[in-house]
């Protein structure tokens, strides 16, 4: 079997080739944002020095090139998640905007009093707040699926919370705190049976595992470029064509129109209806280059590599008595994210101390306060892996971990 050649891959990421606080930089904050390979950086550079124009608006060469680049990027995204048609791919700013668009535009149109919207308790704030608002506006009801001891949602919970009253289920494919891969096939099947539509927050999954929206039969699937080697400021909203057609525009202005009169306007067809104002072509170009890079390596190999890293890291972490790992122990139920706490040391101190060893991790509530409250943890530390992380990165992390308690005056 062909393994990932991580040493070669690492060379593509100039930012990783620096020392931090006197140590080799180990970047383990990929759940927050990822780094860019030189291929992505150069694609943007090339666009900016050869092809930049306002797409869809001009008949001159630069505008035509920009339009081509934009359309090519969209087609690349379509292929990547296997959407049926280009009309189903809408470029947004990020996952957060994608979810807000759906909650506002779909929610305002279709959610009625006493309808139920179901989330998982582990959702990111971006997949909670937009629903809280629409529920308040519409006098609807917000329900949560809770996790079992292993950090997962089980069948009983799905069947209890999703009912004939459910209008929308919105759930992350992978939890950004626990790394849990949720049983979204099961959720989607059951929700459809109950007559509900399902939005899948793919912010943490799309960068790391092969996603096929048709196979999943997701109604909406959303993700962010900056978590998958692409620039900030570009995100994706996939939606089934029939559904997208049935909902009104969200942001308005620019090219999303057909005819505009003083008092009213008609709207452009999909996907333009949802793309108001000048779009982020550079971001789209970067996203295309990022997908090229990922698929050139192979999503299956990336997944396998991360699984290896998680196994290796978990094994070492579990052997340290004062380290407490959160989330599923079963490697088939989790991706490359590990949340943990250290006895007697606050997660923020853990992250500051590790930083002094060149290791970048995150600490806090990870934009998932309801989950933290449910787990009765004020905060956790979190490491999250990507294709450029190595065994050595984890060794350095574990080494750092072993030093943490000493800095706060504990024997080990």
């Amino acid at each position: 079997m062909n393994k990932l050649n991580v040493d070669e891959i690492k060379k593509d990421f100039p930012i990783l080739d620096q020392r931090m606080n006197g140590h080799r930089l180990v970047y383990l904050d990929n759940g927050a944002t990822t780094q860019k390979p030189i291929q992505v950086i150069e694609a943007i550079f090339y666009y900016n020095t050869r092809s930049h124009g306002n797409p869809h608006r001009g008949a001159h060469q630069l505008s035509i090139r920009a339009t081509d680049e934009y359309d090519l990027a969209k087609e690349r995204v379509r292929q990547f998640i296997n959407a049926k048609s280009l009309e189903e791919i809408i470029f947004t700013r990020n996952t957060t905007e994608s979810i807000n668009l759906i909650a506002s535009a779909y929610g305002r149109e279709f959610v009625k009093e006493n309808d139920e919207i179901v989330l998982a308790i582990s959702e990111h704030h971006s997949n909670i707040l937009p629903w809280q608002r629409i529920v308040k506006e519409k006098k609807a009801i917000l329900k949560y699926m809770y996790l079992n001891e292993d950090g997962r949602i089980d069948t009983e919970e799905i069947k209890e919370k999703i009912t004939k009253k459910t209008k929308i289920v919105s759930i992350a494919h992978m939890s950004n705190v626990l790394g849990t891969i949720h049983p979204i096939e099961e959720v989607i099947n059951y929700a459809h049976k109950m007559g509900a539509i399902v939005l899948v927050d793919g912010a943490q999954s799309t960068p790391h595992i092969k996603v096929d929206v048709q196979e999943l039969d997701a109604d909406f699937y959303v993700f962010s470029g900056h978590k998958m080697l692409a620039p900030m400021g570009i995100g994706v909203l996939y939606g089934k064509k029939e559904i997208l057609e049935s909902i009104p525009p969200f942001l308005m202005g620019g090219d999303m129109i057909e005819y505009v009169y003083e008092k009213e306007a008609t709207f452009a067809p999909l996907p333009y209806k949802f793309e108001a104002g000048t779009q982020n072509v550079e971001g789209a170009v970067g996203l295309k280059a990022a997908i090229d890079y990922l698929e050139n390596i192979g999503m299956d190999k990336i997944e396998e590599h991360e699984r290896f890293l998680v196994e290796y890291a978990l094994d070492k972490m579990l052997s340290i008595p004062y380290v407490n790992v959160q989330g599923p122990k079963d490697l088939n139920k989790r991706g490359g994210i590990i949340s943990f706490t250290i006895d007697d040391v606050h997660p923020h101190d853990v992250s500051t101390i590790l930083d002094s060893y060149g290791i970048a991790i995150r600490a806090g509530h990870h934009c998932a306060q309801p989950l933290m409250r449910y787990l009765k943890l004020p905060a956790t530390s979190r490491v999250s892996f990507y294709l450029y992380n190595t065994k050595e990165d984890i060794d350095q992390f574990i080494e750092g971990l072993r030093n943490v308690r000493k800095w706060l005056g504990y024997g080990s």
């Binding site: 606080n21 040391v345 923020h348 500051t352 930083d355 002094s356 004020p378 800095w407 005056g409």
Partner: protein, 141 residues
Amino acid sequence: MDLNSIYTQLIMEHNKSGHNKRPLDNPDIIERGHNPSCGDDITLQLKIAEDIIEDASYTGVGCAISQASTSMMIDLIKSKSIDEALNLVQTFIGMIKKEIIDEEELEKLEDSIVLRNISNMPARVKCAVLAWHTLKEAISK
């Protein structure tokens, strides 16, 4: 960044000892201070008699820096007048912002002076100043 300049013996001890971490009986002032972004959440309790802070303590959760900073502040302000305490708060914030650098002036902060290096760690400044801002809220009312 030199970790030694942040996680000093003193901070370690204040963080671990918890000698100021307890509820007071019948406090005159109870003031909660919190940093939503990092989860530090403390409640200051003060006993005040004729403008003098007779006793002070805190409860709550947070990182070593916020806990130690709170504890050191409490050691410092006990038996001080409200005005003196407010002046100390100002000096401390001034030190962290690097607006006050005069050694002599900073000396009155006693132990808390060890937190000066936190200004080199922008992500942790909020932890260090939480207790002081909370005290200011409590006694300038």
